[in-house]
Structure formats: structure tokens, C-alpha cells
Symmetry: C2
Subunit: 340 residues, 2 copies
Amino acid sequence: MDKKITIYDLAEALNVSPATVSRALNNHPSISFNTKKRIVSYAQSSGYRINKFAANLSKQKSNTIGVIVPKLNSPFMSDALSGIEKVANEHNYNLIISQSLESEQKEKLNAKTLYDSGVDALMVSLAYETTNYEHFEIFREQKIPLLFFDRVDYFPNCPTILIDNRQAGFDATEHLIQQGCKNILHVSGYLKRNAYNNRFNGFKDALYKHKLKFTPYNLYETDLDPKKVEFVMEHIKNSKEKFDGIFFANDAMAVACIQALLKEGVQIPKDIKIIGFNNNPVSEIIQPNLSTINYPGYELGVLAGQSIISHLKGNINIQSAESILLKHELIVRTSSISNK
Amino acid sequence: MDKKITIYDLAEALNVSPATVSRALNNHPSISFNTKKRIVSYAQSSGYRINKFAANLSKQKSNTIGVIVPKLNSPFMSDALSGIEKVANEHNYNLIISQSLESEQKEKLNAKTLYDSGVDALMVSLAYETTNYEHFEIFREQKIPLLFFDRVDYFPNCPTILIDNRQAGFDATEHLIQQGCKNILHVSGYLKRNAYNNRFNGFKDALYKHKLKFTPYNLYETDLDPKKVEFVMEHIKNSKEKFDGIFFANDAMAVACIQALLKEGVQIPKDIKIIGFNNNPVSEIIQPNLSTINYPGYELGVLAGQSIISHLKGNINIQSAESILLKHELIVRTSSISNK
DNA sequence: CTGAAAGCGCTAACAA
DNA sequence: TTGTTAGCGCTTTCAG
């Protein structure tokens, strides 16, 4: 059982042609029930395993989906990947996952490798840095389905799956305003990534609607790495007019900042009301519990997986590049509630 | 540029043989510098891309590493995967990641698929359920490197990478004892998984060393799903002799339990001292901050990746199936400190 | 250093 | 329903 068995070996042993063996093993319609049974059962007992290299070469497809994410170890992203994997697995697709680590160059390299590896489809969540999208062109040229999720950009005929960030940003901000905030700071991710840009726009929309003024001081742009919380703190302390509310573009930074603020004796929500984004598990553990926007990573992954697989199976006509807006949800906890 | 270019096309265009093109593209030693240069540069300009299906078939290897984990969306596991991916990526290996979702059957299926997909190596963290290891035999037979990490079991000649769970369990427990605890509960994962079994043994070692008695009440076995915290709470409340310390086999459950205990008016660490396991980010956010054992997921991933790649590149002689014990570390925070 | 040619193992169009 | 026969595109001996 050490040498590998091929369909030729099976064919010889059973006195049929390799083609018949192949048909039997692939549930091809035109084969008699009996020979099929005979072949399949013999294949099993002999320990035959298909050689996918050969099958892939012959079919020019791999049953493999490539995924590129900025980093796979964030609660949101690992939830999304988990959802994608589950769906893919159920449909017998393998997942090749790679990280861009927020670098455009790595993203390009990964895209190239995945293309060369012959993935049947590619799912991408963009790196912070990426501004140029040439590396995805080849997928389009070769008609390999391409889907963007969470951190997306406009790409003709490519489905995107994410939430309505502008509306979510609006909802978060308006909530703070309704709690009485007049001078709100928005701590944003890099604005060139339009997930963040849209949250910021929603923020401005809400200020505008409620006739609150917006100055450059009301925005602080960062990579949202919680380790850099001190810079946010500095910005907060240096502002002439004290902020009475902060809307963070993610929970991790919000939590880090709450801890820093509490250490300085600031009272939350009394002095400053705070809302985050994502509904990261920590938001229910920090004291006070963090209000946030629920952005369901796992569900997003499942939907993204289903979408791409429908594509691959031809259940969706390609041109109707369907984009999906997931529902977000405002979750009000104590960090943002006025104490009346 | 729509039709795919093969080495035959290049060969024809340049008046050389396909073999020469192949050699040029693969840095084969026996080829003249000039023809190589000529071929490589033409290949570039013509937009040639290798067809890995064919290369894999011919070489019977794929530059792909398979990974099976219980679930990929836990902080620990996603850190580990991130480390593995980084190393793999640097060495031009692709990673196919799949989840067993704690099911032995799925694990078997995944192993089969990955084998059929022709992975060059397999890395596994075992599902809760798995008790039978036949599905890995084929890898051994075919001399495909196999490595277990975190949730491992004994498998002849297979490297394993993890921490010394017994010692870590001992350290955690002894710490509680040194803080004055006399009746300590251990909330364990499933004991058939020996990561947990060993933590439990370390727990007993410490009790024994310090002459504390151990009764079945001092152990509560669970799947560590924080949603099931109520059962743990029940156990705690039903115990005749009140516990004054709890050692949790993971932080997620510890945190859930702390929240439940606080809600009941229990004071931590005054009434009950608590220590967790993993150094999950939440441990620094919960009030009181959770003492724990640091189990560095990312570093583990990096080491595991390096180990398997050394194997693949033949830098390590196969039989010295080197196992690595990562250093763990006791992290003392407020949840376990006696108030003297 | 280069070329010819034989695979790698499977699939699929065409014939029978 | 089954068999024959070309590929799929690359690698690699073996000659030259």
C-alpha cells in the first residue's frame, strides 16, 4: 500500500478502461449502475486515492478559493474566516488563506501566488495601504470570480459584502448626540480605506443634521492599533474645547482609550460618552460596558462564502454582480448613556 | 493576453526547447546565463504565468501546507494561525486551513481532503472528540510530515509544539495556594484531550505537594464554552465546602465566571481568588484584572511553521522528530492576590 | 549547455 | 454504456 494506485491500475484489475473508472469515480451519468458499483467498491478496498494534481490539470480548476485578509488574528476577521471556511468546507472547497499584513506589496504578491496556484475564486479584504488594484486585473481577465468583503473598494462587476458604514457611522453619532453630546470626537481608521471614510461621512452627516459644527479637531485619524492609544489621549487632552463624546471606528481602540481615560480620572459616561464599532467581545467586559455597532463577522463570512460559491456553481448570473449590505445594529450599553 | 501562454509558446518564440525554458524559469544550474536572461525577460514581458497544476503533477508536490484546527476564531488559535501563515508565506508555501469544529468526523474528512489535495505537510491541533488517529496514518505511510500543536497526542515520530501544560497547571495552582487558598476548584476542558489532562495533573501535583486534599468536587469538566457558565456557577454554589480559589483552564470561561460571581455579590479576590489560562486579551480588561498563564499563540505558530518548513527543506533529519516545549509564564494580576 | 521525448494521472470528445 | 485517444503544461532523464 505504499506505491500509489492510479486509475490505470484499477482499470487493469477490473478489465475496464481508465475512462470508465474515471466516470465511475466521478458519478458520471452515462455508466451502468453495476460497473459503477463494482469499480467504486474495488477502488475503496484497494485504497485508491485520487491525484488532484492530475485532475486539476485536466480540468483546469482546483476547487480551491483564495482569501487575502489584512491580518487573520482579529476577532472580526477570524470570525469572518470561520464563516467562510464553514461554507467552503460544506461545498468541498478548500480555502487558501493569506495575510497582507496591511502591506500593498504583500497583497500584490499574495494575489499573484493565489492566481498561479489556480484558485477558482478570490475573496479579498483590502490592506490599509492599497491604492492600486492592478493585481486584481488578471482575475477579471481570466474570469475568475473576485469578491471584496469588509474593506472593499469599487471594482466594476465585483460583488462586495459589508455593512452600510455611512449609516452605521451616522447611527452611532446620532446616538451620542441624543445623549446630549455637543462636541464629539471621531477616532477613525485610515480614511483612504472607504470603510472608514464612510463611517466618517456618517459622522459628519449626523453632526450636520443636528447642526453641530465640525472642525478638524473633531477627527483623529489613526491605524487603530490600541498600542497607540497615547496619541489619541494626547489629542483629547490638547483640544481647547473639551470633548463630551467619542465615536471610535473600532472597539479595540475604544477599550484601550476608556482604560486610559479612567486612569486619568475621567468619568464615563458622565464626563465623556463613548461608542465603539464592531461589537468585539471585549465591549461586554470593559467597565463601563461599551456601546457599539454590531458588525457580524461570522455572518458576513457565511454570506460571502455562499455568494462566491453560487457564482462558482453558476447559480448566479455573473453580470448581476450582486453586492450585499449586511444589517448593522446599534447596541446601547452604559458607556454612552446620559444619567438623567 | 487572454489566452494562456505556455512554455511551448515561449520556446517557439525564442527558438529554444521547452526544456530550456523550464530550466531558465526554475533557476536550473545547467543553463547559460545569457539564454536564461533572454528567456526570463521575455517570459516577463509576454505575461507568462506558470501553471502550477502541471508543475505539481510533474513534481508531485504542491508547496502547500495543510492545517486543521478545532476552530479558527479563538484569540489563541487565530494568533497561532497568523504566525504559521507568516512563516509559510515567507517561504513561498500556501496554507490550506480547515476547521474540525471539534468533531472527529469532520477532522477525518478534512484530513482526507488535504491528503487528496496533495499538501506537502500537515499541521494539526486536535478536536475535542478525536480519540482515534487512523486518519493520520496515510500521511505517515506516504512520508508526509505531520506536526501537532497545542492540542496534541502521542504519535510516534511526530513533532509536537506546545507548552508544558502540567507545569503550567502546577504553577497556576501553587500560586493560588501561596495566596492562601485551601479549597480550590479546577474548571477543566475535556480531560481526554491531554492538554487539559496535563493541566489537571499539574493542579493535583500542587495540591499534593501542599498537602491539600482533592475530592471529585474540586474538579469540574466542561467544554469551556463561556455560554455554559451557569453550570459552573451551579457547581460552585452547590459545593458544601465553599471554594476559596478557582483555576480555569481558559480565560474566556474565567471571565464569564467572574462576571457571574460579581453579579452574585461575591468579592474577587477577597472571597474567591481566580486564575485563568492563555492570557487572552480580555484578561487585562476584566475588573479585577485576571491572573493567568501566558501561552503565546503567535510565537507557537511561528515555531510550528519554522519546524515544518525545516523538515520540508530537509534541514532537519526526519527521525529526530523534534518536539518543542514553549515557555509559559505566570502572570499575576489582581484577581488572585491576597489583600494583606 | 541544450534538445528530444517520456512521463505525471486524470478528463473528455469522439467512436463504437 | 464503454473504449480509444488526445491532450492538460511542466519536469526530467538521457543523449548529444
